[in-house]
């Protein structure tokens, strides 16, 4: 079977998760390679989650949070971006392209943007090809 990317989206339940629901109810389509894990806030995302996903063979990890100023918990998204930037610098050391991890703010009203972002992310990962860590690597 041809390689299909496996993409994991860790989505804040107040915005990006809602945006994904909205995309569905408005019937905006995007590739079924995208899988969402719901978290209460993008600030809940531990760097370990991204590392684990890449280690286990996910081809891309996308973190979706609320726009600045919109965080349900005041400032969780600021914390998310700080951790994310740090982690992105470590990605090369892990042996993966930093482009495989992405963070974007998508609100609950941006169903269309969610579908677009997912389509773009899928296309980008297809260009990069399979995760080099796939099939067992030590991280």
């Amino acid at each position: 079977m041809a390689w299909e990317p496996r993409l994991i989206v860790i989505a804040c339940q107040w915005c990006t998760y809602q945006g994904a629901d909205l995309a569905g109810s408005l019937r905006y389509s995007y590739p079924p390679t995208v899988h969402i894990i719901r978290v209460p806030c993008s600030g809940r995302v531990e760097p370990e989650f991204i590392a684990e996903a890449l280690k286990k063979g996910a081809d891309g990890v996308f973190i979706g949070g609320c726009h600045f100023g919109d965080c349900h918990y005041k400032e969780g998204n600021y914390k998310a971006i700080r951790r994310f930037k740090l982690f992105k610098r470590l990605a090369t050391d892990l042996g993966v392209e930093p482009e495989r991890i992405q963070l974007e703010w998508i609100s609950g009203s941006e169903g269309k943007r969610f579908a677009e972002a997912m389509t773009e992310f899928d296309a980008k990962i297809r260009e990069l090809g399979p995760n080099p860590l796939k099939g067992g690597a030590n991280v």
Partner: protein, 666 residues
Amino acid sequence: MPKIGVYVCHCGENIAGAVNIEEVMNYAKTLPDVVLVKNYLFMCSDPGQDIIKQDIKEGKVDRVVVAACTPRTHEPIFRDALESAGLNRYFLEMANIRDQDSWAHWHDKSGATEKAKRLIRSAVAKVTFAEPLEDRYGDMEKSVMVIGGGVAGMFAALDLANMGLKVYLVERQPSIGGMMIKLDKTFPTMDCSACILTPKMVEVAQHPNIELINYAEVDAVKGYVGNFEITVKKKARYIDWDKCTGCGVCTQICPARVPNEYNYNMDQRRAAYIEFPQAVPKKAVIDRPNCLYFKSMEKTGKPACQICEKGIPPKGIQGCPADAIKFDDKDEYINLKVGSVIITTGYKVMDKSHFKEYSPHSKDVVTAMEFERILSATGPTEGELKRPSDGTKPKTIAMISCVGSRDERYHSYCSKVCCMYMLKHARILKEKYPDIKLYLFFIDVRTAGKDFEEFYVYTRELGVKVIRGGRVSSVDVKPNGKLRVRGFDVDLCSPVELEADMVVLATAIEPATGTEELGRLFAATCGREGFLREVHTKLYPVETASKGVFLAGCVQGPKDIPESIAQSRAAASAAAALVIPGKIKFEAIIAEVDREKCSSCGVCVPLCPYGAIKLQEYKGKEKAYIEPALCAGCGVCASACPSMAITFHGFTTEQILAQIDALAEA
């Protein structure tokens, strides 16, 4: 060993139409710890829930995965089902195979089926590590904010206030009244709009439980259902409203004349103005960008005009008799705590400039809202029908429907009220000027509604020409100043061309400026066309995606006055039902420190946005402690703890890693 039951919902055809249920069920049976897999047409229905409850009661399962729609709407329903069968309500996980699968991948059946399998695998992995949790209760602020002081907002505010709740009514304009106050008459009863609305405006202003906050906007929102902390920006008025008596002296002596937006720029007002004569509250404001005082202060630093304040003494003209002018007024920010919010910010109508084919440059081509002002006794012509270009009385008027609505170039939706108000305009004109010739161009006439069809028949009998056909192709200005209208009549099967003195465009209803931004402040979502979206069109028509935030009126979509009022009173009742009990249930999703593991580093303490974490003595050492009543459940501390001593219940690290593994592995 957990005994996991997987329940796959068809959601009628919504899921089953794209996802191969049987294939998914066979796959789910192979997952670890899954003891049974069942399916049903509607899992959330009573018989559907009974299937789950029965299996729990018989001891067959002790963990439940429901593969259905979004947990955002249905998780509470299934949690209740678990609880009623005697299982802890947090032993549930939902796999969102509808909103995030079948609907999004409708045309890729095999892709949707494969994805459903993986989503179920992820939910099974998470529920394996579920722990029993208890819900918590918090205090509910017994007050409601209504945003938008149009007819919908006013009725919602009155209903809530009459139930004894404190209501803050926030309005962007200097006066309440909204769009309805601008209308001349209302269909189908032909009541004078102002006559039925102004008493209500006064009632709102005088109600002891309503605090009117005019000329203000919502600036920031913190908190959540039960305890919203809302910052409202009261725009500088440059007139002290405590002193202003609404006498109108400043609005007569102010020398700066500017187009009057209340009358769609068809006449002028002054820079110091009262929005309209029946304004509530009847207070004046100074429009800073157009005021000569501010203009000159910015340019030269010296005031060129203070007439409103000081008058013109040599001519014996007095300034403000109440000494209310306050040039040093500043925007004021006030913080309000409310339990619930109703958004009723209404609509705006499309501008005619979009429609080049209808000669928008001609003064005699007006939008229906402008025409409404021309007909109104409080309008620029004081109710006398006059051609805007030369002031003569028009003999022939053409009205065009669906301008910007039902048009793929602009809006696909129907603006709903245009057919009826065009007939209303026709009736007002025919009853006042029996000789006037009226041509109404419709794509088709939509008069569904109580007494609407009778209204249509009656109006036609007055001698109004109704031309059904496609869209009017063009309106051109002829050299003699008349307007040539060209269209098609399907009943005659022939093109029609006529000469009119005026053309009225029934332009589309659009969301008011800033609707999306306002929605975003409250985490309420907008639909494709930019109107705020209800959670469910039929079941939850006044609820938004954000708990405790309700909507009513045209902010949700085009609708007429009776519908807006019905919806606003529904929203008031929904908000009251939430606020009046005084208690609000919070999910058990909070963080907890394992003090044996805590290394006392204190990293978590400043991270918590709620100040819920402090270091406390435990076995002779300072250890972190999280106050459960203050924890809001964001999980920031759990993701930062270097000793992994913080468990974030409901979304534990173990659970999320299990989900990641389930999704990442082949």
